[in-house]
Symmetry: none
Subunit: 201 residues, 4 copies
DNA sequence: GATGAATGAGTGTTCATTCAT
DNA sequence: CATGAATGAACACTCATTCAT
């Protein structure tokens, strides 16, 4: 990449960060291009040198979230015990949610009303996430390490748990929720999803 | 309540229904007072005789969602087996989500950015829902019917599963998700949350 | 027409007049909706209750110019002498140009670049004007009162004379052009187009 | 002129040509400096090394149109017959319109609203054109070759014919107007303006 | 001299809200 | 009480112009 292209890419990323921050703060509709520009430290018109329009910013944020590195990382843990394995998945998901929090929150207000954004988000983020989950679950079941189950229910259920727990942490004022370390959270969920709530065998 | 007040209350409810429908369809920001008025079969100006402004409609929708009937219903099932009991909770939550779908979807876009709305929603809807869940879980654990666990993790996790599954059903185009009856869904979740995914005892 | 519709029609006409005035003064592109609103004595937003957008104002002005009454008026003069007849045509054209001067001038800046406006203008204004001219010329030639000629050249030529003379009067600062009454102008043009410039028979 | 100045003059002319082309295509207001720069094969900023601003380009185009060569050419035909003489004038005007079509069309949208441009255009283009026409007409009348007439009416009338015929050719889609060679056009106009439309002597 | 990225003032349009009828 | 025409503040986007490289 030439020096010129690199600078351009940096500027673009900077604008995208600013947009995610403002979208997360105000929601997509209430966010103004002026506020995004201020957040990025540039003039409003400059944004349009990098993005066609406001909505293109939103789609750019969605594109940023492509979940490639997940598969590679999880591949390393294929030989772990069931406990460690489920815990690894959960930990990875929590990390992803935390790292991309402003980007995810920037999208969430428009996901419900914007068809194209929803399709992109599902095909680029949710789909791959559920996909890897489903694939590994299937393999473990085939190996006999986990019991047979309806994957199309279990995988979204597990994912949903994390999403809601992450959302509650992000949205609720501090102190409402009891503080819990990530490890404790992961432990508890691992136990829940491996052994359930029934009283022993 | 006088005859006058009753009529007024009916009109108010009618407007609130219309607002929920339009908010669910377009999202709060894109919804126009004109469209809401048309949906309610009245003139735009009339809305302001019942609500102070657009946002007041949203808060009114949140107030509408108070989760009263839940407790009563669940009280009747206190003597059931663990399976039937968990299934009953899940079934009740699904019913609630389906019945109030436009109201819930109307709120969802603004929950993330509107502090007051969020507080109202959590204190009136989410809080009570989690509260009843927590209370019953606690009682069952005390009775020895379920194992001890971190309630503040388990209850949101279960609730989150349902929310995400409901959201996916509502948002994704038909055919993407395998069709599943409510009973099958409830069965699978009951099994998951009672016995987990591990292979046998 | 009901009282409501009449009021609406009046308002619409008032806005159209204001738009024509401002377009004539500034040209279509430089004219702002705010200035048009001020000229009409209303708020900017009100314009949009009567016209979809700025361009719709321009098309509305073009529609205003439909040249229906011309035929009827000229029909009365079918029995006149050649002199009186040509003079009548010329006088009618000058009257039309003068009466609709702001409307015509409002259109002229955009005619050159706006395909649809051009088509409307030609089919509704220029076409009919040239059409009646051509028809009467043809009849007079058939009657032997005027000599055979290429109508598609002569009619636009005559029309063009009037347009340019009207434009020069409208655009040039007073005093540059020698003052000339309409009658003198019509006399001179009649002589020109009936007998030409050659020195007698 | 030094080598430096010559190069600069060439560059200036190149920009002026590009500007005329783009102004003719889009109209002055819709034309962007970027498009003009692209048309000229340079960067937008470079234009400002040769012209103070966008409007200066327009004035530059008007200045380009000075009608010098006309007089010289017509001087050679002073001894022709009336027919040939009028035909020569007409032919020269048509040639001028055709040769400078983009330049003329570039000016036309702004002539109506820009006082200074209008003055320049009239003093440098229209004025001289009408002036030569008037002078020669006067001389011919003095010689007794043409009849006495109001020159301030006849000359603009003749000029207007050509302008309108040229504009109709330029603006209307092909096929609407019957095709006519320049010679046929000139013949017909010559006949019209020398002998008029009346039947016989 | 030439470049083209950055600027920011300016505009068409929307829509929540008001108020005369 | 109900209406809906009128309002005008707010905002996305454009583009002439500047200036650091």
């Amino acid at each position: 990449m030439t020096w010129r292209e690199e600078l351009r890419e940096q500027r673009r990323a900077r604008i995208l960060d600013a947009a995610a921050t403002v979208f997360a703060r105000r929601g997509y509709q209430r966010a103004t291009m002026k506020e995004i520009a201020t957040e990025a430290g540039i003039a409003p018109g400059t944004i349009y040198l990098y993005f066609a329009n406001k909505r293109d910013l939103l789609l750019g944020i969605a594109d940023q979230l492509i979940t490639r590195p997940v598969d590679r990382q999880l591949a390393d843990v294929a030989s772990l015990s069931a406990e460690d394995y489920v815990a690894a998945i959960l930990r990875e998901r929590i990390r992803f949610a935390r790292q991309n929090q402003p980007f995810l929150q920037a999208l969430v207000t428009e996901i419900w009303t914007d068809q194209e954004l929803r399709v992109r988000f599902f095909s680029q983020v949710i789909g791959p996430l559920l996909g890897t989950g489903a694939r590994y679950l299937q393999e473990r079941v085939a190996e006999g390490k986990l019991r047979p189950c309806r994957i199309e229910v279990v995988v979204p259920a597990v994912a949903g748990s994390i999403v809601i727990l992450a959302a509650m942490r992000a949205l609720l004022p501090n102190g409402v929720l009891p503080k819990l370390s990530d490890d404790e959270l992961v432990d508890e969920l691992t136990r829940l999803y491996l052994y359930g709530l029934s009283t022993g065998p």
